[in-house]
């Protein structure tokens, strides 16, 4: 969820477009799906747009998607398809703005779909989350070309949708072709039902007025006991570039 990057290099360029590709490695356990521990690996792609507003506030759009394989040490026959999609729109107000340091804080509206499919739909689990997250990020410029940034976001109020007690029911079955219905078919809740932490650490190397190379590490953790226990942690490494205009 954290991808609000610096635009302090260029006062003239208010817009920044980023494309990042990377590798996702994670751990997954969802008792609704299986009692076993799983590891996850796959590719990750992120597209983001940031616009610097008056008072150095930041308007932020992000879409990321990852998929790969979810595997268990128990059996190669248990390999499944994980899919993670995330959309967010955020507004971060400038809290501190010095020559080298920029601190922002604000909120994100987000929609996250975290799904696993085994053998097409022979086994399925999902966590759909739509709501509001608190977010903050820090940008620290070492020099005109080098910058480090870090950020964190925590969902605080959201609609959480998880599979039914039996993992699957008539409602899921009859709405399998209606993803919007399934994604929003949850209840409004907060931290008592779901803990999610997204932490990012990034580095940027400015190669020209408009182009910047980026390298990011993100840690995404989620845990819920709603219906049945789910825990996942993802380490995501990405490189990419941004274009300011």
């Amino acid at each position: 969820m954290i991808s609000c990057l610096a635009n302090c290099y260029s006062q003239e360029s208010k817009n920044e477009l980023q494309l990042k590709l990377g590798y996702n490695q994670g751990y997954f356990k969802d008792i609704n799906y299986s009692p076993l521990n799983y590891t996850e690996s796959g590719l990750l792609v992120t597209l983001a747009y940031d616009r610097t507003l008056r008072n150095n506030a930041n308007l932020h759009f992000l879409l990321d998607f990852s998929s790969g394989v979810l595997s268990s040490e128990v059996s190669p026959y248990f390999d499944a398809l994980p899919i993670l999609a995330n959309l967010e729109i955020g507004y971060l107000k400038s809290l501190k703005n010095t020559q080298n340091l920029q601190i922002r804080g604000g909120g994100l509206l987000f929609s996250k779909a975290d799904m696993v499919f085994y053998d097409d739909t022979e086994a399925v689990t999902f966590t759909f989350l739509n709501g509001l997250a608190l977010a903050s990020n820090i940008e620290y410029s070492i020099s005109a070309k080098h910058q480090f940034n870090s950020g964190i976001s925590i969902p605080i109020l959201f609609v959480l949708a998880r599979p039914p007690f039996t993992g699957w029911d008539k409602e899921v079955d009859e709405n399998a072709d209606n993803p919007v219905r399934l994604i929003t078919d949850g209840h409004i809740t907060s931290l008592q039902d779901y803990i999610g932490i997204n932490f990012k650490l990034g580095y940027q190397y400015r190669i020209s007025e408009r182009f910047t190379l980026t390298a990011d590490y993100q840690l995404k953790y989620q845990s819920t006991e709603h219906r049945k226990s789910l825990t996942s942690l993802r380490n995501q490494f990405q490189i990419g570039s941004s274009f300011k205009f």
Binding site: Y27, F28, K29, Y33, S34, P35, L36, N37, T39, S72, E73, V74, S75, Y77, F78, Y118, D119, E122, A123, V124, T125, Y140, I142, F148, S150, P164, F165, T166, G167, W168, D169, K170, D173, E174, F199, L201, Y217, L219, Y221, T231, L233, N235
Partner: protein, 347 residues
């Protein structure tokens, strides 16, 4: 210096992210552990203990003492086999992909094994013509010889657009009656069944309710969801319909029959159906690499009774025999034609 701190923090984060620290310990792959997970999962999620009157605790008491750390895979397979045999529910199975072993509860049913049918006999000796409704195997239709009776066979309730039924009825034209053959129909999706039946509906009838398990207790079920017949398509075929069934007819095919038997103009001829209505669970996974699946809901008729384990009892019972088929005779079809003649004067 600050850069060094940041990199150190990053390495610590990644290093700390080891699997067991994050997820907790995985269940051990020991016979006792596999048994406990298997039994417990059924105990909490299986939806038909109440409807069928099964005592799952007694299964634990019988089989748990047979399992210890020395129990072999073959012995454990045999124990699981016997445990689900008790349930007599074809929606319940165990599967060992390493050895390619599969066993579905009730698959040893002698009655099911004795049900015989021959499409060649039907095609060559009963039908004036037959057509495939599409490239998808499963839908065939035609007309009975020397009569104005249509014939449709459907071997599953999936893999095709159910609205094709309207096209088939249109192609059959102005027939006097229809024989709808769902013998050996292995099921599919209930919504498919409902849509096909909608083309024969004579109104909106309450036909069944569904309750899914929603908690670990034996009586933890969600509120009832009610299902009704509903006329579908431009017009509905409300002339006499005979639906042919056998004990292989199962699941969504039985749901199809729930719809059809609520219509005044429909008669069931053949054998009782399998009696397995519930939807199945997601595939389940065990630490020893095996998988399994089970039923997760109760189907109840409007009067609160369950047909699970019983099936649809036909209005007219008759079963094919090998001898008759060898004589190019389908006894169930013959009885259906006789019924249409006697009851409606249609030949």
């Amino acid at each position: 210096m600050k850069l060094r701190y940041l990199l150190t923090a990053l390495i610590i984060f990644i290093g700390l992210s080891c699997e067991e620290m994050v997820l907790g310990e995985e269940p051990t792959n020991a016979p006792e552990s596999n048994f406990e997970i298997f039994w417990q999962d059924f105990d909490e999620h299986y939806g038909l203990f109440q409807a069928r009157g099964w005592n799952w605790d007694s299964i634990y008491n019988v089989y748990r003492p047979m399992v210890n750390s020395q129990t072999s895979d073959a012995e454990l397979w045999s124990i699981f086999h016997d445990m689900i045999t008790y349930l007599d529910d074809s929606h319940t199975f165990i599967y060992n992909p390493d050895e390619d072993l599969f066993y579905a509860s009730g698959s040893e049913d002698e009655e099911a094994a004795s049900e015989v049918i021959s499409w060649d006999v039907i095609n060559n000796h009963y039908l004036e013509y037959s057509k495939d409704a599409s490239d998808v195997i499963g839908w065939k239709y035609g007309k009975m010889k020397n009569s104005n009776i249509g014939y449709i066979v459907l071997t599953d309730m999936d893999n095709e657009d159910p609205k094709i039924i309207d096209h088939i009825l249109s192609e059959l034209g102005n027939i006097d009656a229809l024989i709808f053959d769902i013998r050996h129909n292995t099921g599919g999706t209930d919504s498919f069944s409902a849509r096909v039946a909608g083309s024969f509906a004579d109104g909106e009838n309450l036909i069944y309710s569904v309750q899914e398990k929603n908690g670990p207790g034996k009586k933890d079920f969600a509120d009832k969801t009610f299902y009704y017949t509903e006329p579908k398509g431009k017009s509905q075929f409300t002339k006499p319909v005979v639906v042919l069934t056998d004990v292989v007819t199962v699941s969504a095919a039985e749901v199809f029959l729930l719809h059809m038997k609520s219509f005044e103009h429909v008669t069931q001829i053949g054998d009782s159906t399998a009696g397995d209505f519930s939807d199945t669970s997601m595939r389940r996974f065990l630490p020893n690499g095996w998988m399994y699946q089970y039923s997760i809901m109760m189907f109840l008729q409007p009067d609160g009774s369950s047909l699970d384990g019983i099936g649809h009892v036909p209005d007219i019972f008759i079963r094919n025999t090998e001898e008759a088929l060898n004589d190019n005779t389908d006894l169930v079809l013959d009885r259906s034609l006789q019924f249409l003649l006697e009851e409606y004067g249609i030949e």
